[in-house]
């Protein structure tokens, strides 16, 4: 089974290159290729999860054992996010047919392939390559799927992302100059001796800011509102829900394995706190649904950054819980908001015309603000008990900011909800609540159903996540798995 894992990256890549050609000859065959590939990917990863022995393993690529060759590292956390990538890729598949379809679908496959690679890769340079691929396919997708405003937003994103890439590369170069290796396991081995210094810290910060562009890290996230508000909703959902989490995953991985300097976590914590403040406050004034969601996403990612700065296993658990929860919620909300562009006042009386959409919005909003017993509550509970346990007063500030942000979040989300449930229109305002398109509503309902399922099964899922977190936290296990693997298991 393990050797099939490569296919989850290789097949979408292959599909991405072949799709335009196939589509030219047979559209009917072409449209099924993408979903089929992603479906197969889900199946492979799902099987691995169900039938694997729970132990992490590493796959060397190209016949050279790490640290010389490059490898994929598969532990429960990587598997989880790889699976989420393929699944969300399938759910948000851009099936709309027009002259751009081949381009769009090929880019989407590329995006999924590179995102999966981002989750699985065990090599710093490989990570960088996949990260660039994600960036390129994202630009293409935003530009290909939408309007003139989206082009402008893309340009901005492009420049920012480009500078970010340079910074990341600079950081990687620093590390390579210092240690002579880019394999994560090898780096983890060398880090206590060679990277536990100012140079290592500088390298980490450069990488943090570079990758932070995608992870919506505070000062480098100015592209977020415009892009999410103008790109197609399905794409925004994928970007906000998944890609930002993958970038976060990379940062978490680097932090756990290599960089143990207290300053590193401190910077993350401060930037996280600033992200929460800026995002939530900006969302409070947002007059447009999708911009509001974008700002709220910045705020939520800030909360996850605060969690990343937490030291021990429960911190990792908080990161995972918050990330998965936000993935579920934001995807659902962006799908709901598919047709809700323009002024928030348009949503007046929406619940009367579309009770399901109104109900789903309330459900998502409640979970987002952490109403028990919805899963958002448990994620936040893990976070705040962990925050309160730290001795550094900065964490206490983080806790207070988080609590304040939640109040503001509840205030603006329920202002919208109250608007939706308003029955009597004021003078001069006709009820012309937008119709929530059938498909996006169905997709949103899917996420709503998922949310309720998680609520019911929160206890076993929590335990499973705890195991995942414990495994991700274990640096020795990572080193051992990658570097001391018998030759026979290589493919």
């Amino acid at each position: 089974m393990n050797e099939h894992l490569m296919l989850t990256i290789a097949l979408p890549l292959l599909g991405a290159f072949l799709l335009p050609i196939i589509m030219r000859s047979s559209l009917a065959m072409g449209v099924w290729i993408g979903p089929a590939i992603l479906g197969y990917g889900c199946w492979i990863l799902g099987n691995l999860w169900l039938h694997g022995n729970g132990q992490p393993f590493s796959i060397a690529i190209g016949g050279f054992a790490p640290p010389i060759g490059i490898n994929l590292y598969v532990d429960a956390m990587a598997l989880l996010f790889a699976f989420a990538t393929q699944l969300l890729g399938l759910i948000f598949w851009p099936f709309r047919l027009d002259q751009d379809t081949p381009k769009r679908q090929a880019l989407m496959l590329l995006l999924v392939a590179s995102s999966t690679g981002l989750a699985l890769s065990g090599d710093l340079f490989n990570l960088y390559v996949f990260y660039e691929l994600v960036a390129v396919s994202t630009f293409g997708l935003i530009a290909a799927s939408s309007s003139g405003a989206a082009y402008v937003a893309t340009i901005r994103y492009l420049i920012l992302s480009g500078i970010g890439s340079v910074l990341t590369l600079f950081g990687i170069a620093l590390i390579y100059a210092q240690t002579g290796t880019l394999n994560l396991a090898h780096l983890a081995q060398l880090a206590p001796d060679q990277l536990n210094n100012d140079l290592g810290l500088a390298a980490f910060l450069a990488i943090l800011i570079g990758i932070g562009v995608k992870a919506e890290l505070f000062p480098v996230n100015t592209w977020v509102p415009e892009v999410y508000a103008t790109a197609a909703s399905r794409l925004s959902a994928f970007l906000a829900g998944l890609v930002s989490k993958l970038a976060m995953l990379v940062i978490l991985r680097l932090l756990l394995l290599i960089f143990h300097q207290p300053e590193a976590t401190q910077v993350i914590l401060i930037l996280g706190i600033l992200g929460v403040i800026s995002g939530e406050f900006a969302a409070w004034r947002a007059k447009d649904m999708r911009r509001m969601l974008a700002f709220s996403s910045i705020g939520q990612l800030g909360v996850i950054f605060i969690a990343v700065a937490l030291p021990d296993e429960r911190g990792v658990l908080a990161v995972l819980a918050l990330s998965l929860h936000h993935m579920l919620i934001k995807s659902g909300l962006f799908m709901l908001a598919d047709h809700w562009g323009g002024s928030l006042d348009r949503l007046r009386g929406l619940a009367a015309t579309s009770p399901l959409a109104g109900g789903l919005f309330v459900l998502f909003a409640l979970s987002l603000v952490g109403m028990p017993p919805l899963p958002g509550f448990w994620a936040k509970f893990t976070l705040i008990t962990e925050l309160a346990g730290q001795t550094d007063p900065l964490y206490m500030i983080g806790l207070l900011v988080f609590l304040l942000a939640t109040v503001i979040e509840a205030s603006y989300l329920f202002r919208v909800a109250a608007k939706m449930y308003q029955t009597k229109p004021t003078e001069n305002v006709r009820i012309n609540a937008p119709d929530s398109g059938g498909l996006s509503l169905t997709t949103a309902s899917l996420f709503g159903a998922g949310l309720i399922a998680v609520t019911v099964m929160v206890s076993p899922l929590g335990e499973a996540l705890q195991a995942v977190a414990a495994q991700a936290q274990d640096v020795d296990l990572y080193i051992q798995t990658v570097l001391q693997q018998p030759l026979g298991e290589r493919q």
């Binding site: 100012d198 000062p219 406050f281 409070w284 028990p372 309160a388 308003q422 929590g462």
Partner: protein, 625 residues
């Protein structure tokens, strides 16, 4: 599996919610739901042993989630509050059946939503009251907050705005509690009550201070304690009639319940007493007492200025909460008993008052105190209920409000707190003045021409109102009945237990026997009646068969004085109404708005790359230095 009585109660309550959800649009939905509330009350009565002892009944369900165990159980404290909750739900629901329900639907109300929201409120409150650890307490707390939001927001328009304000306050309170729980968890390593009880002894003063502030303000927001009181009156007043009776009776007492449980039972009033405020003579307990007293005075005098009967009552609801907290904070046998008894008494008269006002709205269509008057001749029974209610609210004999307030005053004097006593009396003075305005402007004086045809409220409304009025009088005559429950509650939360008799309390520092008090009072009434009837026959005249200023009156001449009530008094104290808290609230909102503007500006800037580079340079420079 054998169901414990608590399981039965929760199942019953859940079933009520289900019935309301499924059949809430049906014909006799109101009656069905009411009968189910009756069932809940019976289950509660089955557990009556709780009210007279310190036993505990556990629920069979408990969970183990992410290393936390959740459990639910009832003790005397829960039972006492649950009794009030379910009884007021039963009577409010009864009140809403039949004619009120029909007229509500005619005016475009959503009766399904109303029944469901009520049932949800009761269900979540019972879950909160049954909480067996801090985590389940928080879960219940949040559920209650959101259920309350549903009931407050359902009327739309002004009500939704008030509810939005409420939920922002409630979220702030909830988050303060959430933070407090995190701190407790870290200090005690668990959220079980036993673990916390042992951990409290080892806490440092700073820790305890933080916890008292976080829990105190979090729970205090629900109680409407100063300075977090602004949301409550509009939110309760704009809720559809019977809903406001229910909310006014019990909803904000959930805050008191949580304060009793966490601050009094777990942290211990002695520990709170030891928290001194530096450079002053007062400690945390005095602070709480003074907050309670200002919560009595300011909202009560705000109530006096209201021109809408519902708002007037809702403002009093805030003020009366102050007496409860005051009694509990004094924390001797009498004060504790007074504070707790006032929860019960307040629920009875507040529900009766809101119902009476709703009955008036139902018949006349308005609760504007400047557009009513003279209704005593058309709605005499409602008048009696309102009269009984305001006597209770003002804390005068022979109604039950007198007993609880007397206990609180007595304890303040016994414990040597004359300033607090004086302040509490000032509050009562304001109460008396404003309830007189209420009854005068609605029922006394000149009947308006448009109300000539008004009829008495229908029996579906009248019966629950009369039941409440009877309870108000009977528990005023025999306060020993609720005092028995109160004594068990005191024992459970670790306060000194009061020595009660059927007619009041026995104490070396001053006893009260209401049977005697009322006996003397009625003897006085009897003498008055004898004089009145021995003076010969009185003649009944029409209200317009009268004259004023040398002129005969006609229907178009308004001689009822209702606008700018208490003009003379307002001339004296009017300058004190400065709206400082409104100003405070507005400035907080503007601050948030301003920060939001800045933050949005940050994201609107085009030169994002500049941020990136400067941040990178900054952090790298920081590392090197």
């Amino acid at each position: 599996m054998i169901l414990t009585p608590l399981d039965e109660l929760l199942l019953f309550s859940g079933a009520t919610l289900l019935v309301a959800l499924i059949l809430g649009r049906g014909l006799a939905a109101g009656w069905m739901v009411t009968i189910l509330y009756g069932g809940q009350l019976l289950t509660l009565i089955k557990m009556a042993a709780l009210g007279y002892s310190d036993t505990i009944i556990h629920a069979s369900i408990n969970f183990e989630i992410m290393g936390q165990s959740l459990s639910w159980r009832f003790d005397a404290l829960s039972w006492f509050f649950a009794l009030i909750t379910v009884a007021s739900a039963l009577l409010s629901s009864w009140f809403s059946c039949g004619e009120w329900e029909r007229s509500f639907k005619q005016h475009g109300g959503n009766i399904w939503l109303y029944h469901s929201a009520m049932a949800l409120n009761v269900f979540t409150m019972l879950i909160l009251l049954a909480s067996g650890d801090l985590l389940s307490l928080f879960i219940g707390w949040e559920l209650v907050s959101w259920a309350g939001f549903l009931l407050m927001a359902m009327a739309g328009g002004v009500a939704t705005r008030a509810a939005m304000r409420y939920i922002t306050y409630a979220m702030a309170g909830g988050m303060a509690v959430f933070g407090g729980i995190a701190l407790v968890y870290v200090a005690a390593g668990s959220l079980q009550y036993e673990a916390i009880l042992t951990a409290v002894d080892q806490m440092s003063t700073t820790q305890l201070w933080m916890l008292v502030v976080m829990f105190g303000s979090g729970f205090g927001i629900k109680m409407g304690l100063l300075p977090f009181h602004l949301w409550q009156a509009p939110a309760y007043a704009e809720t559809p009639g019977p809903g406001s009776a229910f909310l006014g009776a019990i909803s904000s007492r959930m805050g008191l319940f949580a304060i009793l449980l966490v601050l009094v039972k777990l942290f211990g009033i002695v520990n709170i007493d030891s928290l001194k405020i530096p450079f002053t003579l007062i400690d945390a307990r005095d602070l709480l007492a003074w907050i309670a007293v200002f919560t009595i005075i300011l909202p009560t005098f705000t109530a006096m200025k209201q021109n809408d009967a519902r708002h007037l009552l809702a403002w009093h609801g805030i003020g009366q909460g102050g007496y409860m907290l005051l009694g509990v904070v004094v924390a001797d046998a009498m004060g504790g008993a007074g504070g707790l008894l006032h929860v019960f008494n307040h629920a009875t008269y507040q529900a009766a008052l809101f119902m009476a006002v709703t009955a008036v709205i139902h018949r006349t269509g308005t609760s504007d105190l400047n557009k009513l008057g003279g209704l005593v001749v058309r709605m005499p029974l409602s008048f009696v209920v309102l009269l009984v209610g305001i006597i209770g609210l003002a804390g005068l004999p022979p109604m039950n409000g007198f007993v609880s307030k007397w206990l609180v005053y007595r304890s303040l004097l016994n414990e040597g707190m004359p300033l607090l006593f004086l302040a509490a009396v000032i509050g009562t003075l304001g109460t008396i003045l404003s309830v007189y305005k209420l009854i005068h402007n609605i029922f006394l004086g000149q009947l308006r021409i448009e109300h000539e045809q008004v009829k008495e409220a229908p029996w579906s409304m009248m019966v629950p109102m009369l039941i409440l009025a009877a309870i108000i009088f009977i528990t005023g005559l025999f306060p020993g009945i609720p005092l028995a429950w109160v004594a068990s509650v005191q024992e459970v939360i670790g306060l000194p237990v009061t020595d009660y008799t059927l007619g009041g309390v026995e104490s070396v520092s001053g006893s009260l026997d209401m049977i005697w008090v009322i006996g003397v009072l009625f003897a006085g009434f009897g003498i008055g009646a004898v004089i009145f009837y021995s003076a010969g026959r009185s003649k009944r005249v029409h209200q317009l068969d009268n004259y004023a200023g040398g002129h005969f009156l006609s229907a178009d001449v308004r001689y009822q004085y209702s606008d700018n009530f208490y003009a003379g008094l307002m001339h004296l104290i009017g300058g004190w109404y400065r709206g400082s808290f409104l100003w405070l609230e507005k400035s907080v909102t503007s601050l948030v708005d301003f920060i939001s503007l800045v933050m949005q500006g940050l994201y609107r800037r085009a030169n994002a790359e500049f941020y990136l580079l400067s941040t990178a340079l900054f952090v790298i420079a920081w590392v090197v230095i």
